[in-house]
Symmetry: C2
Amino acid sequence: MFEKIALIGIGLIGSSLARVIRREGLARHIAISTRRPETLKRAENLQLGDSYSTDARTAVRDADLIIVSVPVGASGTVAEEIAPALKKGAILTDVGSTKQSVVAQMSPFVPEGVHFIPGHPLAGTENSGPDAGFPDLFDNRWCIFTPLPDTDPLALEKLSTFWRRCGSNIDTMTPEHHDMTLAIVSHLPHIIAYNIVGTADDLANVTKSEVIKYSASGFRDFTRLAASDPTMWRDVCLHNKDAILEMLARFSEDLSSLQRAIRWGDGDKLFDLFTRTRAIRRSIIQAGQDIDVPDFGRQVVEHPEKK
Amino acid sequence: MFEKIALIGIGLIGSSLARVIRREGLARHIAISTRRPETLKRAENLQLGDSYSTDARTAVRDADLIIVSVPVGASGTVAEEIAPALKKGAILTDVGSTKQSVVAQMSPFVPEGVHFIPGHPLAGTENSGPDAGFPDLFDNRWCIFTPLPDTDPLALEKLSTFWRRCGSNIDTMTPEHHDMTLAIVSHLPHIIAYNIVGTADDLANVTKSEVIKYSASGFRDFTRLAASDPTMWRDVCLHNKDAILEMLARFSEDLSSLQRAIRWGDGDKLFDLFTRTRAIRRSIIQAGQDIDVPDFGRQVVEHPEKK
């Protein structure tokens, strides 16, 4: 599909891309660049690409598609670094979890004739680094583009085809709407998970070993999100601040109201909320966005009839 | 092990008990009682027991072991109802998620010569009702007893053996410590999950269909806990109020501090918290309390090398 694809950053997303590009034959040449020599060496040992460089500018030379997969706070620096070497007609995209900030950071450096199309594949696990990637990561997951007013429709179509061949479904929206949507479906859940795990870690009257020992009664579900890459999530918090603060305010307001219902013994109010949220779970399963087995399928469910 | 076991309540826990008691041959006779005739009928159709009655007093007559598996708010009513029919020497236990309240509700009704041992198997899924149960539910899960000062050690040992044969590991602690520990490992996570799902449900600028569509980016993890039985969780909130309010206060305090770090762009503070929480996840996996595969094993991880 492309002569040369340059992957800047080779963590979970970058290395998954390398693997699926190779498997699907989407490029003749995969150039890999990352700042840290140890990570680059690891990518080379895993044979993820065809050429390797700690210098992003070297990697992007002659590339038809450049995919920047770095923590969003580094987007501007990367754009500035690679700009002089970008080929005319090349497509430049990213995978960052916040879009207004990435557009603001990268746009000023994009040369005339290069198609910059901000993107965000909604895919990931709690693991990170080149070893964590796998080629099925994007299977049936959404990839959201936030095209700019002057985005070339042909370039957008070509990039969409690329992501579809990686397994994704495509959506487009404005950067603003993306950031607001992701703040509720992704950023707030991660921040809340980090927070509750931190609260549990700080207790004195219940020991840490007890928290761990009895975690299967609910707590462990939060620890997965709270094990996500700290650098990535620090940057998300710093670069989608407004939308996140808005969602945090709503969450806290709702929590105060719930807390008041608990304090005053308002059972009806609790029952109403707990019933309403159950319906959302059903919708998510119906939409094929989670599996329909108890406990995420963590345990084997065997009915006596089947024994 | 027992001549007759009476199960009062035949939801997820009660019906799982019925199945494992049958499978392991732990009783000659299983008597099942539940208030709602439809639920009782369903239990009968599933052939979960040997006798069925909507009258709990009938079910417990001559029983050597009585297990009350009802929402904690109903414990006192059930105790009052069955008390006159309890056999001398019988063991009476429960499975409630809060222990101080259950002890306070049930103790006054327990006749002389009946061994009341409050218990709580830390097991469950987001599903409820007699169809949701399965005999492996208690496998390798903790069952916590909160014995009273006058609990007979022999009765406690017999009940422990019973739960071990159901698959559980046994722990004992005071009701107070149980309620504080469960408030952090189970009650707070459920309440936070209910709250965040409620917050998402109320948004106007992001549609409900978008929340569902993009839920795999984090949100869906919370919807599982938020799909738990509303009656059970209403009662937990009302009957472990003090410990829950204490944990909510700590959580909110921590969240305010985190929110401030986001507002003021304190990246170091965010990075520190996000790194610390990652270690907890590793401890939980090392302790065998969660599986060591990304995304709870929801997706198949295939490395290209294995293809």
